[in-house]
Point group: C2
C-alpha cells in the first residue's frame, strides 16, 4: 500500500519523528513523507511513532492508498524530495 | 476529485497561500489541506497559487485521488482540522 504521512509535532520531537519515518518512507517536503510500505511495517511505524509523540499536542496523519491506480501527484514550484517516488 | 495539498513555502508567503487554499479546501493540519474539489476549481487554485509562490524556493504538492474508494485516513495524536472531512 502507498502511504502519505504528514506530521505536525512539537519542536523537541521533530528530529526523532523524522528519523523514525525515514526508516520506512521517503522524505518529500517539510513534514511530509510518502512511499510504498507493507502492512507489517506500517504497523511498526505507527507503534514507534506513538511512543515518541505527545498525544495531546502532536498530530500525525496517514493517508493510506490501497492502490495508486486512481491517484497522481502534481507539484508547483520546486521538488524538494528525491525522485524515487512512484505515485 | 479529492485533493490533499501540502505546502512548504517561505514565511512571507504562508498567510497568502493558506488564505487562498482555504477558499477551496479544508485545513487539516499545519501546511496540509484536503477536500473534494471540481476540476475547474482545482485549475483556478493552481493558477492563483502559482501567482503567489516563489517557484525557485517554494513547493506545493497536490495528491489527486480520482476516487476515495481505495483510500483511508488515520490519525495519531490530536485531530487539528475540522470534522467535515470525508475520506
Amino acid at each position: 500500500m502507498f502511504v502519505i504521512l504528514v506530521y505536525d509535532v512539537g519542536e523537541k520531537r521533530v528530529a526523532k519523528v523524522l528519523k523514525t519515518c525515514r526508516k520506512y518512507l521517503n522524505w518529500v517536503q517539510n513534514s511530509v513523507l510518502e512511499g510504498e510500505i507493507s502492512l507489517a511495517n506500517y504497523k511498526k511505524l505507527k507503534m514507534e511513532l506513538s511512543q515518541i509523540i505527545d498525544k495531546d499536542e502532536d498530530s500525525v496523519i496517514f493517508y493510506i492508498l490501497r492502490t495508486t491506480k486512481y491517484s497522481e501527484r502534481e507539484t508547483l514550484g520546486i521538488k524538494k524530495g528525491g525522485d524515487d517516488i512512484i505515485i
